[in-house]
Amino acid sequence: MGEILQPGAKAPDFTAPVTPDQKLSLNDLKGRRVILAFYPADWSPVCGDQMSLYNMVLPEFRKHGAELLGISVDGAWCHQAYARANQFHFPLIADFHPKGEIAKSYGAYRDSEGVAERALFILDETGHVIWSYLSPMAVNPGADGILDALERMPRLETTDV
């Protein structure tokens, strides 16, 4: 496996399903700060799994003007069931077909297991990576790194959230 995209890199654009009948393009979020959270799979068998945790921290992310996108290789129907069961209030991108293409473009695909790594990226308003972090697959990285990085960014002039 190579290295994940580092700060300074242009974030590769993508268009992929977020629900069975809706797609989302990264370009649509241009001008906004974006947190991309790649993770191996929906339905982790623990209570406070990574996406449930981020769902709880969403108001903090939004205070910093950042949108959160979760990404895994699970299909849109799987994402829909997972998001409904856990009442997620952010989109889950289906990196399903061609499988793992988005993860690969960020250097965050684990070929041996066919899933995305646990990798985090923060993109600035111009679509560049300003922070990235690769967590060991078995360790939920938490949200402290993301919040620290968002705090280091220049303050947003507008407060439209």
């Binding site: 623990v46 209570c47 406070g48 799994d49 990574q50 449930s52 945790l53 769902n55 709880m56 921290v57 903090e60 856990n86 009442q87 997620f88 360790v139 939920n140 990285p141 938490g142 949200a143 402290d144 790194g145 919040l147």
Partner: protein
């Protein structure tokens, strides 16, 4: 990687002396089955280390998954305001398998707490800010699920049975040079 940003302070519920050589901080969720399983293990550890350990419990309710976690945490805080935090805390964990609003009121009643006062505190969110502050502090320290333990400020990843906790505590105790004079912080 993750470290406790907020050391044990006067707002915490604490067992053990503030100048103990090792601190153990737990972030927990009353409706989480893993936290329910962890509490008897923590009790064993507390008994084993006695005054050699300072333990604090903080709330980390994952409300979207566990709708009763926050009311339970607020009920424990309510009991705490009456000097009965640990009694309520133990009672909630012991009844985790049948946790409900009714259970919370029944447990409070067993401790002699006033039901109307508890109902009022839950409705008004009297203790919501304290619970929220615990949660946000946990997020900033890298709490990544529950239960989450910090031994002398360092996040413990992995098992949390009494053996695992004890061994982490002993390792931390041995890391402290014996010639260092400890000044109580609280």
């Amino acid at each position: 990687m993750s470290e406790l940003r907020f050391p044990i302070n006067e707002y915490d519920h604490v067992i053990g002396p503030s100048d103990a050589p090792v601190t153990l901080v737990e972030y927990g969720d009353y409706q989480c089955p893993h936290c329910q399983a962890a509490w008897p293990e923590v009790e064993l550890v507390l008994r084993h280390f006695g005054r050699g350990l300072c333990y604090a419990y903080r709330h980390f309710p994952i409300s979207t998954v566990h709708p009763l976690a926050k009311p339970a945490a607020e009920a424990a805080e309510f009991a705490g305001a009456h000097g009965l935090f640990w009694e309520m805390h133990s009672a909630i964990y012991a009844n985790g398998h049948q946790l409900s609003a009714t259970t919370l009121f029944a447990l409070a009643a067993q401790l002699g707490l006033d039901a109307a006062e508890l109902r009022n505190a839950l409705e008004q969110g009297t203790y919501a800010a304290k619970v929220e502050a615990d949660f946000l502090g946990g997020i900033r320290s890298g709490v990544n699920g529950t239960p989450c333990f910090f031994v002398n400020g360092e996040r413990l990843d992995g098992a949390y049975d009494a053996m695992a906790l004890s061994s982490a505590i002993e390792t931390a105790a041995n890391d402290v040079p014996s010639n260092v004079v400890r000044i109580p912080v609280a």
